[in-house]
């Protein structure tokens, strides 16, 4: 019994240390150009993605007349590659690499009544843009937990509306919806530091990683997260492959 209590205490201590490690780690320079790359695969039969009936908005139905729109919760490519997985460094990063948000402006477009891309990854504090290519009105309505410091907002984007430019204060996986078109569903994946999103073949490359030892986390909206340890040193990219198993 005593041992168990000790175990409990040790587990707690480990948790505290791990949480602490997230916040306080050694300083590293962000100047170097290390990379982490790999492939994320799906093992098993991909789950059925429900089709979307867009008939309530004739514009949307017409825009998708030649395709069959479906949900995008799990998108598996022909070679088993898993698309829309966000990869980021969850441990080991600090200093300049964390304090300077990326300066490029990722774009989240509303096209044919769907979000392109379905998952938009970004750095904390990085400016991103929401645009509309559609001739029907959308409202762009992310729903973060305000207790994190990310505040929900809700803006209309009728046809021809100017882009909405925003940023987020804290790391969080934020669901995005359009109340006008209830099937529209996407994500703002807000992470701290360098990140990447897998392409249609499940491939990814995280750039601008200073040399060091890291934990890489792969996040998929319905399959959850996985982690891997990598060491970045010199020019050759560090490798981290992931496999998500079907349920």
């Amino acid at each position: 019994m005593k041992n168990l209590q000790k175990l409990a205490a040790v587990l707690m201590a480990v948790m505290v240390v791990l949480c602490g490690a997230l916040l306080l780690t050694h300083e590293v320079s962000a100047a170097s150009e290390g990379k982490i790359s790999g492939t994320v695969k799906y093992e098993g039969t991909p789950p059925h993605m429900r089709g979307i009936d867009m008939s309530k908005d004739p514009y949307c139905a017409k825009a998708n007349a030649s395709t069959s729109p479906h949900m995008e919760n799990v998108v598996v490519g022909s070679g088993g590659g898993l698309e829309n997985v966000v990869l980021y460094i969850s441990e080991g990063l600090s200093g300049a690499a964390l304090s300077q948000p990326a300066t490029n402006v990722p774009v989240f477009d509303q096209k044919n009544c769907e979000y392109t891309p379905h998952v938009l990854a970004m750095d904390v504090g990085q400016t991103f843009k929401v645009t509309t290519s559609d001739q029907t009105a959308h409202n762009i309505h992310p729903n973060p937990n305000p207790m994190t410091g990310n505040i929900p907002w809700n803006q209309s984007q009728p046809p021809g509306a100017p882009p909405v430019e925003k940023s987020w204060k804290a790391p969080e996986m934020i669901e995005v919806k359009c109340n006008i078109h209830p099937w529209m569903h996407g994500w703002f994946a807000v992470v701290k530091g360098p990140y990447a999103t897998t392409d249609a073949n499940g491939n990814y490359t995280i750039s601008n990683v200073p040399p060091g030892n890291y934990t890489v986390t792969a996040w998929q909206e319905t399959l959850g997260t996985q982690t891997a340890k990598v060491t970045v040193s010199g020019a050759a990219p560090a490798k981290a492959d992931f496999t998500f198993k079907g349920k």
């Binding site: 019994m1 175990l7 929900p152 209309s156 078109h181």
Partner: protein, 290 residues
């Protein structure tokens, strides 16, 4: 022995799971007490959170709950559900979407009540009581301790109602597609009306202009202007501030009046003009004929 073993493991698991969440969701009594000095400033009245405890317990706690999380004992029976003050998200604001309301906004909501909900107009309170309650409401959310309210949107002086303005308002109604939810006649029967949900995933209805109800955030012309320019946070109603110019916004207010059942100058003009509901099959920029 076996039971304590389980307990110990459970306890560990619980603590480990709750630890990262603790700062996000669970606010402790100490968190609230740290903010008990919260004040509000409305005109020249200063409200003190501490002074509102009696009124809150007597009038508000039944729905909004001890912790201000909207889980009072009446929670299961009322719809729309009581506001969760801890989130700091409010429908009726003079400030842009995604920002905190002003103290005046919160006081106005208490005084006005929310039509078609269980929140009555608390017009029996003195200004001091309302100011104290506003401070108390604010003390439930950590946001008010760390963020400033948004800057209220500017509302230009209301122009004269004219037939041209009403027709222009009808074009705005068509262009920004208010009808997607509110319907072309304002009867809340647009194509998206039946699937609307609030931020907590509960069904919510679009405002029906035609049945004589008061809009939840006020029924003056200025209130209507404010509602669509700030949006009602926590609901599907977005902000149109980026897409409707201030002058056009007045045109839209006048057009909305023509949809409402109450007699008005706008309604009389619309009748004279023989104004028809907008044509949803028209291209994105309607011609403005009528």
């Amino acid at each position: 022995m076996r039971i304590t073993l389980h307990k110990s493991l459970l306890c560990t698991a619980a603590v480990v799971m709750v630890f990262p969440l603790a700062s996000l969701a669970q606010q402790t009594k100490a968190d609230f007490e740290a903010r008990i000095g919260m004040e509000s400033h409305i005109g020249h009245v200063t409200g003190h959170a501490k002074s509102a405890q009696y009124d809150y317990r007597r009038y508000c706690v039944g729905c909004h709950g001890d912790r201000g999380d909207g889980m009072g004992e009446n929670f299961p029976w009322v719809d729309p559900k009581p506001r969760d003050f801890q989130l700091g998200i409010f429908k009726c604001r003079s400030t842009p979407t995604g920002t905190l309301p002003t103290d005046q906004d919160l006081s106005d909501t208490i005084g006005r009540g929310l039509d078609r909900s269980n929140m009555p107009p608390w017009n029996v309170f003195t200004d001091q009581q309302k100011a104290d309650l506003v401070a108390w409401v604010k003390h439930f959310s950590p946001r008010f301790a760390s963020e400033k309210p948004g800057t209220p949107i500017q509302i230009p002086a209301e122009p004269e109602v004219t037939a041209d303005r009403i027709k222009a308002g009808r074009e705005v109604f068509a262009r920004v597609q208010c009808w997607k939810c509110h319907g072309v006649t304002g009867e809340a029967n647009g194509p998206s009306a039946s699937t609307l949900q609030d931020d907590l995933g509960r069904p919510i209805a679009a405002f029906n202009f035609t049945e004589g109800s008061r809009p939840k955030c006020g029924s003056s012309d200025q209130d209507l202007y404010r509602i669509f320019m700030t949006g009602l946070d926590g609901t599907p109603m977005p902000s149109f501030a980026d897409n409707i110019k201030p002058d056009e916004a007045w045109d839209l207010v006048f057009y909305l009046r023509t949809l409402m059942s109450e007699p008005s100058k706008e309604k009389a003009i619309a009748k004279q003009l023989g104004l028809k509901p907008v044509d949803t099959n028209a291209p994105a920029q309607p011609s403005g004929q009528q």
